[in-house]
């Protein structure tokens, strides 16, 4: 595979052709925030938190999808990007009903972390307070749609790692939601294997394990990485 050289934040970085800007930046130790991206799953490009500026005009591109190119000039750290990232997190908070203090994922939540990391000290947009449901029909897990940010990590983990494709997205725009099978109660799903990978993948408290308190909630997100490494590299490294 041929190598290309690009510039990220004034640093020359070498990457394999076909790699994404996100992979190249992270390999070089340059942090790019993400929410919907999970190593080992296909990219989704939905959250836009990984936006970077490309070229002289600073065109905005999602780093998780943008392929590297020879001579490409990328910035990940401008004031404009910082402001957009904070706005993105604020929009996510305004769109759902995210109440960290009474959430089972408090302290284990990538949205909560993203708010602090992007400097979101308050919400500048109008909260929409949508009416959303909770499905607790499954024996071991539940989903609270109030806390869902539609990152589709559960959908991709279920499809690509477990091979069950129980989860998918129904509806459009602000009315979109994740559903199990044909939008039926999760507990009645004939395809769900109860493996829990959707829970591991969920960045927030939307998918939760029944009977776990806040202190007991550990998504075990590293177990997804373990499975990916085992499958793709045949490395069973704990």
């Amino acid at each position: 595979m041929s190598a290309v050289t690009l510039t990220i934040n004034d640093r020359l970085v070498t990457a394999a052709a076909g790699e994404t800007v996100l992979a190249a930046a992270r390999a070089a130790g340059i942090d790019v925030p993400t929410l919907c991206y999970v190593d080992g799953l296909s990219a989704h490009g939905g959250c836009r938190l990984c936006l970077v500026e490309v070229g002289a005009g600073g065109r905005l591109q999602p780093a998780c999808f943008m392929p590297v190119a020879e001579g490409m000039v990328v910035r990940t750290d401008t004031d404009r990007l910082a402001e957009y990232r904070r706005m993105i997190v604020e929009l996510l908070f305004a769109e759902g009903n995210h109440v960290c203090s009474v959430c089972v994922a408090n302290g284990n939540c990538e949205l909560q972390d993203a708010a602090a990391a992007t400097g979101m000290d308050h919400e500048r947009f109008e909260y929409t307070y949508p009416k959303r449901a909770v499905d607790a029909s499954h024996d071991r897990f539940g989903i609270d749609h109030n806390r869902c940010v539609l990152c589709t990590r559960c959908v991709r983990a279920c499809d690509e790692l477990e091979g069950a494709h129980t989860w998918d997205v129904a509806g459009r725009g602000a009315g979109a939601k994740v559903v199990t099978d044909l939008n039926q109660p999760w507990g009645e799903s004939p395809t769900c294997t109860s493996c829990g990978k959707c829970f591991m993948a969920c960045p927030t408290g939307a998918i939760f394990r029944k009977g776990s308190t806040v202190a007991e909630t550990d998504h075990g997100r590293d177990r997804l990485q373990f499975l990916v490494a085992a499958r793709e590299k045949k490395q069973w490294i704990v």
């Binding site: 908070f93 009903n97 109440v99 960290c100 203090s101 009474v102 959430c103 408090n106 302290g107 939540c109 909560q112 972390d113 708010a115 602090a116 990391a117 400097g119 979101m120 000290d121 308050h122 919400e123 909260y127 307070y129 949508p130 009416k131 959303r132």
Partner: protein, 183 residues
């Protein structure tokens, strides 16, 4: 420098932020050496005074009393600090907002879930009327500093007050901006 005129106000919140303020422990003694607490729910002061240098406002704006109070507080205070998640986001106090307006909330709480003598409380002049929508402070008045946390840990409160005492515009970042409980 003159002694700092400090106030704390309790709107639609659970008083947990005030408990966290008391969790400043012995630093409260240091604070008392340089500041006067001129208004707070833990003292028997009836009227919010004029000329307050800094005020910690706990809770969201949930009823007509809260609304009247926050307007008065803003007018009479220099640095207004949104104190905790309810003041900053609405938080638990705003959990009722998806129900739409005040009436369905009252019906749910006092009629549908009542075990005995279901009735909606109605004592004009005594029980303030609920606003249709619970709002964080900055939807009603200008807020100078946002201090998230449910409650904000004592050291976070201390960091803000130390900056106020030093005459700086308070600024929080990183882990000090975390919503919810813990750090």
């Amino acid at each position: 420098m003159d002694r700092l005129k400090l106030a704390t106000v309790w709107l639609g919140g659970c008083s947990g932020c005030h408990m966290s303020f008391l969790d400043l422990d012995e630093w409260l003694i240091d604070l008392a050496a340089v500041a006067d607490v001129v208004f707070t729910p833990v003292m028997d002061v009836k009227e919010y005074p004029a000329g307050v240098d800094a005020v910690l406002v706990e809770g969201a704006v949930a009823n007509e009393d809260n609304l009247e109070m926050i307007l008065k507080v803003r007018e009479r205070s220099k640095v207004l600090i949104a104190f905790g998640d309810c003041a900053v986001t609405g938080n638990v106090t705003a959990l009722r907002n998806p129900l739409g307006s005040a009436l369905p909330v009252l019906e749910r709480g006092y009629l549908e879930l009542a075990d005995d003598t279901p009735q909606i409380p109605n004592e004009p002049g005594i029980i303030p009327r609920l606003l249709d929508r619970v709002v964080p402070l900055h939807k009603v008045v200008d807020v100078d500093v946002y201090m998230p946390g449910c409650p904000p840990p004592a050291d976070r409160i201390r960091r803000v007050l130390e900056q106020v005492l030093a005459g700086q515009p308070p600024h929080l970042e990183g882990a000090d901006l975390k919503f919810g409980s813990g750090r």
